[in-house]
């Protein structure tokens, strides 16, 4: 079979206006998997699956930061810096809206998962669990409220980290210092 030779008059393939690249691949993959998970396993189980992945990821990231900083545990300032930094590295845009002794409010106008997160709230468990796990291990307790999310159609996310136990809303997720971190304290 003779080789196919591009016509000199036809445009170059790599210059075609095709909306596909590395980011598009992962966005489509993540959105498709989240969609499939939410529709087949149900929203609750989908959250549990994503939470499991996020809990692993959170522990792993926390371990890396601790090793890099050379500390056993992160203090509150380090924790805030780490949360902002890891989102920056993941191409997110988290910022601190307000903070006091009892809670920290974070905002985000750009999700690290891009367009994939839209209409897939189970993916928000990544944020909830990574923030929750790291905060709980640092200060002992965390409850995460995802008050507004891009996934549910908001222009920006508003995430509240409660550092002391208060009255919980049905959607509030609680995290404790895990036994390994607690034992090392």
């Amino acid at each position: 079979m003779p080789p196919i030779i591009a016509n000199a008059t036809s445009p170059s393939i790599d210059s075609l206006a095709v909306d596909f690249d590395h980011h598009r691949l992962f966005e489509t993959l993540v959105a498709g998997m989240a969609d499939l998970l939410e529709t087949t396993a149900g929203a609750e189980d989908a959250c549990a699956y994503v939470s499991s992945i996020a809990a692993r990821l959170g522990s792993d990231i926390e371990k890396q930061y601790k090793t890099a900083l050379g500390v056993q545990n992160l203090n509150r300032d380090q924790l805030l810096a780490v949360l902002i930094d890891l989102n920056r590295r993941a191409d997110g845009a988290f910022f601190i809206i307000e903070e006091d002794e009892d809670h920290i409010v974070l905002g985000n106008c750009k999700c690290p998962l891009g367009q994939a997160v839209i209409n897939h709230p189970s993916l928000c468990m990544l944020t909830s669990n990574i923030f929750g796990v790291m905060t709980a291990n640092a200060v002992g307790y965390a409850a995460v409220d995802l008050e507004q999310t891009i996934a549910r159609g908001a222009a920006a996310c508003r995430v509240v980290l409660h550092l002391k136990r208060t009255e919980l809303h049905p959607d509030t997720r609680e995290y404790f210092r895990d036994d390994a971190s607690a034992a090392s304290n």
Binding site: Y141, R173, E174, F176, D178, D179
Partner: protein
């Protein structure tokens, strides 16, 4: 999403799938029946690591992750069971977070790894679930049976209460009957003792005046005497009417004998009637009436209560001082309780009525065990009664 706080081991039974409460170190605190059946039912296991057929380190890491989350985290785990090692989707979360030296308590729920409709393990779990439902149904059935038994017991209790009430009602009816009879006899006696005597005196005086008078006055007095005599006869009939008619017509001994024959006509009891002494034609009406009623009541009691009785002996004895009536049966006899309560006690309005009748004529009544077997009733009535200390008006 599971936010339930398990308080006791019993709460685990609310989950149909195998469920455990364990610590981060793998020690098992509690498990439900489904977990008991699925995980080494023959042996007691104390740690998840004893039955872990996968990588122990992966399980340890997963348990630690679970200790930090109130929300369930999913992980594939492998445990040995009765038929070998099986994979599960484990939903694990913290129930009670770690406090000081006490490790966190975790709730672990085990579900099939693959689609529940196709996995063999799921089939097994489905069977176990069915068996559990069946057991629950059997327990409910047992409760229903127990309820039915309680209802039957309550029905029996109510029926017994009704029976007692009916018996009490019968006793009250008897008492009313006795009271009516007594009142009737008392009125008759009063008429005889007072109005009758007065009428007799008036008649005697009228006759004397009639005999002494002449002309139209004599005729008028004669009419008055006839009229008074007629009134006296009516009073006599009223007095006689208060007594048992059979006694009036046949006399005391014959009336008692005939009545006893009536009581024994069904052939269940043999009757022996003996009359001793000479029966006077002028026995007081009250005495005849009282003895006849006592005989009637004693025969009734013998028929009703003398279980196993085969024979009744009646002896009516007349002498110059008194008349005695003895009625004996060979039944089971009076109960000890009845005897302890006195000669008559409260064993029935019939016995009390008998006693009252005999008291009313100055007589005595004794009821007790017969020598050998049975009960004997002895009523003695004096022919000239002594004045009663507390006789009823």
């Amino acid at each position: 999403m599971m936010h339930l706080q398990l308080r006791t081991e019993l709460d685990l039974e609310t989950y149909l799938e195998p469920s455990l409460v364990a610590c981060c170190d793998g020690s098992i605190h509690a498990r439900n029946r489904a977990a008991h059946l699925a995980l080494s039912p023959q042996t007691s296991i104390s740690s998840l690591f004893d039955i872990c057929s996968g990588r122990a380190e992966a399980l340890r890491t997963y348990l630690i992750r679970c200790s930090g989350s109130r929300q369930p985290l999913i992980e594939k785990v492998s445990f040995n069971g009765e038929g070998g090692a099986f994979d599960y989707r484990c939903f694990g979360n913290a129930l009670v977070p770690r406090r000081k030296s006490r490790p966190a308590s975790l709730l672990l729920r085990l579900l099939p790894v693959r689609d529940a409709r196709f996995a063999a393990r799921a089939e097994c779990m489905k069977r176990l679930r069915t068996e559990r439902h069946w057991r629950l149904a059997m327990e409910q059935s047992a409760e229903l049976r127990s309820d039915r038994l309680r209802l039957v017991e309550q029905y029996c209790f109510v029926a017994e209460a009704l029976r007692v009430a009916e018996a009490q009602n019968r006793r009250l009816q008897d008492e009313i009957k006795h009271i009516r009879t007594d009142e009737r006899e008392r009125i008759a006696q009063d008429l005889h003792d007072h109005a009758g005597q007065e009428m007799a005196l008036v008649l005697v005086e009228l006759r004397r005046m009639r005999d002494a008078a002449h002309g139209p006055a004599r005729a008028r007095l004669n009419d008055l005497a006839v009229h008074v005599s007629e009134v006296g006869r009516k009073i006599h009939h009223a007095v006689v009417g208060g007594r048992p008619r059979i006694v009036e017509e046949l006399g005391l001994s014959r009336a008692i004998e005939i009545t006893a024959v009536w009581f024994t006509t069904d052939g269940r009891l043999d009757l022996s009637f003996k009359k001793k002494g000479v029966e006077s034609d002028a026995l007081p009406a009250a005495l005849e009436s009282a003895l006849y009623r006592v005989a009637q009541e004693a025969l009734t009691n013998a028929l009703r209560h003398a279980l196993g009785a085969q024979k009744i002996d009646i002896v009516l004895e007349f002498n110059c001082q008194s008349v005695s009536l003895t009625i004996a049966d060979d039944g089971v006899g009076l109960s000890t309780e009845a005897q302890q309560q006195g000669e008559l006690g409260s064993s029935g309005i019939g016995l009390r009525g008998m006693q009252q009748r005999m008291n009313g004529i100055g007589g005595t009544l004794q009821i007790g065990p017969r020598f050998g077997k049975g009960t004997i009733v002895t009523a003695v009535a004096p022919l000239r009664p002594e004045p009663q200390q507390s006789a009823p008006p």
